[in-house]
Amino acid sequence: MIENIDFTLVNWSRGQFAMIAFYHWLFIPITIGTTYIIAIAQTIHVKTGDPEWERLARFWAKLFGINFAIGVGTGIILGLEFGTNWANYSWIAGDIFGAPLAAEGIMAFFLESTFIAVMFFGWGKVGKKFHLLSCWLVAFGASLSALWILVANGWMNYPVGMVFNPDTARHEMVDFWAVLFSPYAMNKFLHTITSCLVISAFFVIAISSWYLLKKRSILLAKRSIVLAATFGLLSSVYLAMTGDGSAYYVAQKQPAKLATMEGLFDGEEGAGLVMMGILNPNKKLGDDKKDFLFKMEIPKMLSILGYRDANAFVPGMNDLVYGNEEFGIMSAEEKMEKGRIALGALADYKEAQKNNDPQGMEEAELLFNEYYQYMGYGNLHSPEMIIPRKIPLIFYSFRIMVISGMLFIGVLLLFVYLSVKNRIENQKWLLYVGIWCFPLSFIASMCGWIVAEVGRQPWTIQGLLPTMISTSNISANAVIATFWLFATMLTVLVIAEYRIMIGAIRKGPDNLSTKGGPNV
């Protein structure tokens, strides 16, 4: 139907970005979260003078260092990809997207890179307070780096603080603070950072549990578990709270994503939240088949989460595609019509500009501005396109994320309780659970990204720019070739990380002195 779009190119470009982001994310949470655990342990050492806490901080700093050294720079490929595979997107959004990315680079360089050296090599060489300050600055620096990239990502989901310049075909930033403090972006930042803290807590708990099972480094392992479990428990409760915030903002700004997350085809007043369920694989938009083969739901909870009102109407996919007059929901067809008017006005503007017709330009610009918010819909070729195609992937990923999050709260609570009672060593089953929760926490966070990014489709910029228009005019074969090149490079890095990290864990903390000197 739309022969001028090369879907092989679009799909491989998306696949390549997802693959690299997946590998990149394997390194990020431990880099961000472990820094706080190191800083807290070092703070306790400075306050109490107990050398064991310093030894603990140094051991986790060593593992953090391995992860940081191997992971650093993997995001560079993502940055380069914006220019090669996503040139149209980069041009259209570059003025807004570029600023946070540049800020991220500066933050990462100045804060993290500078103070990491002091953190690693400053033990016993620089003043204790300055060293402690460096540990905290590394932690804040890592989080600040993440802030900027998540602000950019938040803007793609909820574009604010910009105007579209028809002369250059670019979104130009008019309000930096609106972009930075957009509630969507802030909530995304807090939710993502907190997920990193929980993953790091399980990283520390898993390794410490293994030491306890092997009856090695008992004191360090027990203290690490108390620290990481307390830190992880507080983080996981906050993670649930920010998850609630995410549901609220998604309901307000991306109702199609919410409907897909919930497998909600027909909107309801007082909609329930599906706790568990199996989607009917034969169900299609607009048909009368049952949505679910089986489901268990909490009555009215989706309305409460999405709209803070137990009886609020939550639009389903059919309402969003075909419209719902009763609840004032515009159909996708109407939005597409308005989008075509916006793009038609843009074409008229360019034509008037070519003919040196200022009045024509002014009229076209006025019309364009009136329909600008629907611009992206003008490029869609069927109303059904506004719904992400991978409904089961989004639905099940959301459930894996939420159920895992709830499980983590329970597991961490048990770890804290049994650690405080000094009975953790004998609970072998819990130590094994602690080990398995580490990979599970990664899976849960990956599922979160799937919900966020696959759920945003068909848009790169919500409502304004479809993904199929965002790619570069390059050959799909070039993207396929680089896909395999990057996959090979990153797999080698992950294997290196795994081998070096396992080696360092096996070696353990016993050889670390508390007399100063570097960790490595």
Binding site: I5, I77, A87, K125, R340, K350, M468, A478, A504
Partner: protein
């Protein structure tokens, strides 16, 4: 400051793990910045535009081409 850097140098020299990690960082950055950013991308992968005006024209063309195609499809149906 000089003393601190000399100390880092000495300690890195003594540690095989530090040497391996630094080698990985060096190889990675040589690959990312030297090979990818310096050669592969500009030579084979970067879309070619004469200047910024050309680039904006191409972007608008893509936005409107698809739009015009969609309108044509609509008329045909």
């Amino acid at each position: 400051m000089k003393e601190f850097f000399l100390y880092i140098y000495k300690k890195v020299k003594e540690s095989s793990l530090a040497k391996i990690l630094l080698l990985i960082i060096f190889l990675k950055f040589a690959m990312f910045y030297g090979f990818l950013k310096g050669y592969l991308y500009p030579t084979f992968l970067k879309p070619k535009y004469e200047n910024e005006d050309h680039r904006s024209e191409e972007v608008i063309k893509k936005l409107l081409d698809n739009h015009n195609k969609t309108l044509k499809d609509d008329r045909e149906h």
